[in-house]
Amino acid sequence: MHPRSRPLLLLAALLVCAPDAAHGQEAASGRDGTDAQDEASVQVEDGEVVALVGGIVRTAVGAEIRGGTVLLRDGRIAAVGKDVVVPAGARSIDCRGKIITPGLIDADSWLGLDPADTSARLPGAETRASDGFDRWDARLRTARQEGVTALVLGGNREQIVGGLASVVATSGAEPISADGPLVLNLSRRSAAGGLQGAARAESVRSTLESARYRRTTLERWQRDVAEYESARLKDGPTAEERLLLPPELLERMRLWTPSQRAAWREATYKSMGRAKRYKKPKKPASPPKSLSSDPGADAIDAVLGTKDAPATRACFVRAALDGDVAATLELANEYGLDVTIAGGAGLRDHAPALKKSGARVVVTELADTRSARGTPSARRPTGLVATLVTSGLKPAIGTGGAGASRFIRLIASREIGAGLTRAAALRAVTIWAAEAAGVGATTGSLEVGKRADVVVWTVSPFSAESRAEHVFVGGREVTDADE
């Protein structure tokens, strides 16, 4: 700091200045061992080119490629195939006998969110799940170890309008999509939610109805404003003014609002002793404030679709029961919603209607876990995912929980035991999950140009004994696969 500081150190002999022991954290033995992985769990190796060579490549979209290579560059998948040339200088990983899959995605998760955050009231629908995502959550590390590279954060699960879902990377990098589908909770998950079944559907309807009303009101107002504006432009400087006033002032006047102009004229002419009243053009009434500037309402507005203008934002609807699914389909039809329906047994009987409507589905009531409670023991739907696949749907699998996200591979694996094919199971936790959350073009499969979210497994990820040997999230290897 200063040369003068040295004497202090000498004087401080009494206090024997503490060693400049570099320990930002405590280092000690036993259980207390350093927790380095906890801190720097993600190794950053930018710009590196990685070649995963000679593995069994399951792309989740096409056929399996045996002895295939996946090339990762700049965080993207640069090539997939049998005859990929590994560029010089690339880091080559021998994957012979190993299985290469896209990173797994939990299609409905709360991992990284404070449990309280998933049930609290919201100020508005624009509330984004990613704002609450704690990328320092210790469970994310296990999620990466278990090959999970992305999570669909399903927003609030209690309120009828649950904010915007987000898709986040388990590496904790920037969200893959912060501004995702609008979450609507038709099914009640706990006593905290207030309304039940039909009442909730009715509440969603009135939300959408007021959004529609707001839209028409705003459109009308916008028309009025346009008329006013054109009237105002017509209401230019008078001939007298043109004659008398300097051109700069005339130019500026053009930008004035009619009321400003009228006020100016009144004052100016008065001072000139010519108190002449000027007609103020009628200004259109402002729409109520709640209608004009409400980001929450804007978020809901975007989900409304018409024949000419389809919805610009999808809806993520939790509809567990039969009736909820039916209500959702009805609402989707009525308001032009683009829906992803997340639920359980209720989906089964509506499979054909779902197929017809083009809705995407997420099966969330499979986990049989503490946080996904609500399905009594014997009622846990078995074989539901397989049934939906048979019906031509592309069901994604979500845990509907927090910690269970880490073990999505084992939860999906149970569906194989219940009749799902392995290929479909992989899709259900990769590409279909991405599509359900609207990021199917970005991630979810091993295709050139997509995010490099890739996992190398010792054996099939659906085996309990499998280990993820290499996990890449956004092209960066997370090195905490093994402790």
């Binding site: 014997a378 084992l410 694996s413």
Partner: protein
Amino acid sequence: MPTSRALAAVVLAALVAAPVLADDAADGVEFVRLGRLHVGDGTVEHNVVVAIDDGRFVSVGRDAPPAGANVRDLSQHVGCPGFIDAVTQLGLDGGAAETSEALTPDVRAADAFDGHSKDLAAATAAGTTCVGLSPSPSNVAAGRGAVAVQGADGRWELLERNGPPVFAFVPPALSAGRVPSTVAGARALLGAAFEGRRWRTPGESDPPVRDAALDMLAALRDGPALVHADSAAAARVAVETIGGRGLTPTLVGLRRGHIDPVALAALETPCIITALDPEDSVALLELPGRLARAGVDVTLSSGSPARHPNSLRLAMALAVARGLPTSHAVPAVTGRAARALGVADRIGRVAEGLRADLVVFDGEPWEPSTRIVLVVAGGRIVCAPSETDR
């Protein structure tokens, strides 16, 4: 496979399939050829033929069955003893917590047993042919457990009315407002009770009438006991108290056992880890593996009825994924569970003389992706999902 179909399968099996394995063969012996057999004690046999007669295994070996014998060829498949869910309340109607007093050794799980419970049917479809029924750990001496099995006729029946006594060194047995409120108090209370006396304060006099509950506890001398404890510290006190009495304790619960697995292992007492769940911390999910590798007998239990009986297999998968050696996986839900319940001489292994409870899979039992091909209980097929599905 839908649950409804599973139920149908059970019914069907009882009505239709049962005779296939029944006494109509000439000598009454039924043979099953298996590609691989987990015996239930940690060993694996390949290409074995299991002979079943009169509801029991009569032989397990390589010898080819006699010509013309009734042989079911499952040589592409993997068999193991029927699963035993060691600590459950499946089929216990009306709850299992009797919290009016701290010492209720005379409460019997068997008295609340309902063999027609739907939950039990679901358990069968999930490969579980035997359940250990326990009163809730809401009292220090909670009562007596019972053992129920899937009967050959499709309904469940009691195998052992007088199961192991159940003790609890956990909340809610110990909580503010209950006597006792600490583990130390539980030791004092039980210690006195084993000597047939009340736990009293100096100056208090003994009641004039003898207490039946105390007599019952004082009469306990040996045999298995189930002891609920959550941490290694509580487990130590529990083992000292119960083991000191001459009973053979098995620890149950241990959801905080991962904090000090070394101390837990040092107790050299078998452990039943209940209700492993994907939501659990990795440290807890790794506990079965750590204990097993330290030489402790580990049993897994589903946590039913709060959770689906099928979660027993998920628990196995989670434990294997997090370090339980596969050689321990099957014993953890069969042979060791039987031992904890004191019925190892009757069920829990595929061995001569034991009850013929057998589950056949199209892969390894701990893999959640494998399917159940056949469930045999008491020598009869009680569930054959793949057949009815096909």
